[in-house]
């Protein structure tokens, strides 16, 4: 067993060529997931059961099953139905990339909406009472009082979820997507050098995690600038 440095140097550029795909997966499903999470949050905050119950069921199902199973159901499972193969969504669902985006979006949406809900519920009640005493309407209270405070409270758990999402994008390699993980698996299959390849890839992922953490740290500081001395 030896550690082959030249192999690492050879395969690093190959693996990094998948960086674009990893980022596309991360950013597209991150943004779409955040939108979905916001819709789910609004559905849960209404007092109407026909909005809040479906949202709760959705969150329960997507948080209670492994993301890999969700990816497989969408990628391998959905084409079982004639209706889906003939629908307008077929061009997206036919491609592994579309399926990966859909699965990651639904999954992260469910998790993030719970984070947002926790943040909204953590906003001090007294501030909302003060708002209504000042004559602000319900929507104004939500926009001017709840949202800015909830965003700040939600940043630390949200950054953890973005990191989870980054790690989940690696699962896209199981449905023939050649992101960094997919490329690394091909190289390992060819060279049978798991240590060199996988450890260097792990370091790449850790660097991304580090930057995501730092980035959100700055954002949190920025959002809490009024509490600084």
């Amino acid at each position: 067993m030896s550690f082959d440095i030249t192999l690492i140097l050879d395969s690093l550029p190959k693996m990094l060529s998948g960086i674009g795909l990893t980022f596309q997966l991360l950013i597209l499903s991150g943004v779409l997931g955040l939108l979905l999470a916001f819709v789910l949050l609004l559905m849960r905050l209404t007092e109407k059961w026909y909005f809040s119950v479906p949202a709760q069921v959705f969150i329960y199902v997507f948080r209670g099953t492994p993301i890999l199973v969700q990816i497989f159901i969408i990628y391998y499972g959905l084409p079982q139905f004639e209706a889906i193969r003939e629908s307008i969504f077929w061009p997206i669902l036919r491609e592994p990339f579309g399926c990966a985006i859909l699965a990651l979006t639904l999954n992260t949406g469910a998790y993030v909406s719970e984070i947002l809900r926790g943040a909204v519920l953590a906003v001090d009640r007294g501030l909302l009472e003060a708002g209504s005493a000042l004559g602000l309407s319900r929507n104004q209270r939500f926009i001017y009082i709840t949202s800015p405070l909830a965003i700040r409270l939600g940043i630390p758990p949200y950054s953890n979820d973005v990191i989870s999402l980054l790690k989940s994008t690696a699962l896209a390699s199981t449905i023939t997507i050649f992101d960094m993980m997919g490329i690394a698996r091909t190289i390992v299959a060819e060279t049978y050098a798991p240590y060199e390849i996988f450890i260097s890839l792990a370091i790449i992922y850790m660097i991304f995690t580090f930057f995501i953490q730092k980035g959100f740290g700055y954002f949190e500081n920025f959002m809490s600038r009024h509490v600084k001395k």
């Binding site: 497989f72 499972g77 993980m181 390992v188 798991p194 792990a202």
Partner: protein, 231 residues
């Protein structure tokens, strides 16, 4: 749904495999978490550094990468180790069950490290002082004061770690273990009904997660029972 009739027994045995992985990895996860937390709380700088590296590495790397690295990596390491004694050995096969169990326990153990550490630091200092004032020994303080407070603090996060473990078992199908996703793939190949087969997997996982969630909720209620007002 008729397509599934011949496959119930396969799903059943695969669920047993998932539960076995869950039990084994839960035990290992608690051990890794406790060692990690002890190292982080210790006075030794080296132990702290190692524990910090452990949590950073396993929280920043995709789970699938850890599973693959440990499976293929341990096969290579063991092969070269055995070749020292018997050069005729060509290849040592590592059972995917144990490689996978070890991998997911390491991953979730890194999260559990923080939970256990937080629980230890979360013990009310007043309780410890009261125990000292009552003349309890260190061991008595630990057993009667710290542990009852700690498990109540750790329980909500610990429940989430258990759910993560269950969900991570799905990754072990990638290294060829005969578990739920593996069965679903075989069943799909014979019946041509992928949606039905994978949905069953999803429902089984949902069932296991639900049982764990209810169990944790029950434990939390039990943990609060002393706070209930007398009737």
């Amino acid at each position: 749904m008729e397509a599934i009739t011949g496959w119930w027994d396969d799903y059943f045995f695969a669920s047993i495999v998932v539960l076995k992985i869950f039990m084994a990895s839960l035990l290992l996860m608690v051990i890794f978490g406790l060692i990690g937390a002890a190292a982080k709380l210790s006075n030794s700088i080296i132990a702290k550094k190692i524990a910090n590296a452990y949590t950073i590495i396993f929280r920043g790397t995709p789970e699938i990468l850890v599973v693959l690295l440990i499976y293929f990596g341990s096969a290579i390491a063991l092969t070269s180790l055995f070749q020292l004694f018997d050069p005729s050995i060509k290849y040592v096969d590592v059972p995917p069950f144990w490689a996978g169990t070890f991998a997911i326990a390491l991953i979730v153990g890194s999260y559990a490290t923080e939970t256990f550490r937080g629980a230890f630091l979360g013990v009310e200092p007043g309780s410890i002082e009261a125990a000292r004032a009552l003349g309890l020994s260190n061991l008595q303080t630990f057993v009667y004061i710290r542990i009852p407070e700690m498990w109540r603090i750790a329980l909500p996060s610990f429940g989430n770690h258990m759910l993560s473990l269950v969900k991570d078992t799905a990754l072990i199908s990638i290294i060829g273990l005969n578990e739920l996703l593996f069965v679903a793939e075989q069943a799909t190949a014979t019946t041509g009904k992928p949606f039905t087969m994978f949905i069953v997997v999803g429902l089984i996982y949902l069932g296991i997660s639900t049982v764990i969630t209810l169990f944790v909720m029950g434990l939390e209620a039990y943990g609060r029972s002393h706070l209930r007002a007398a009737k």
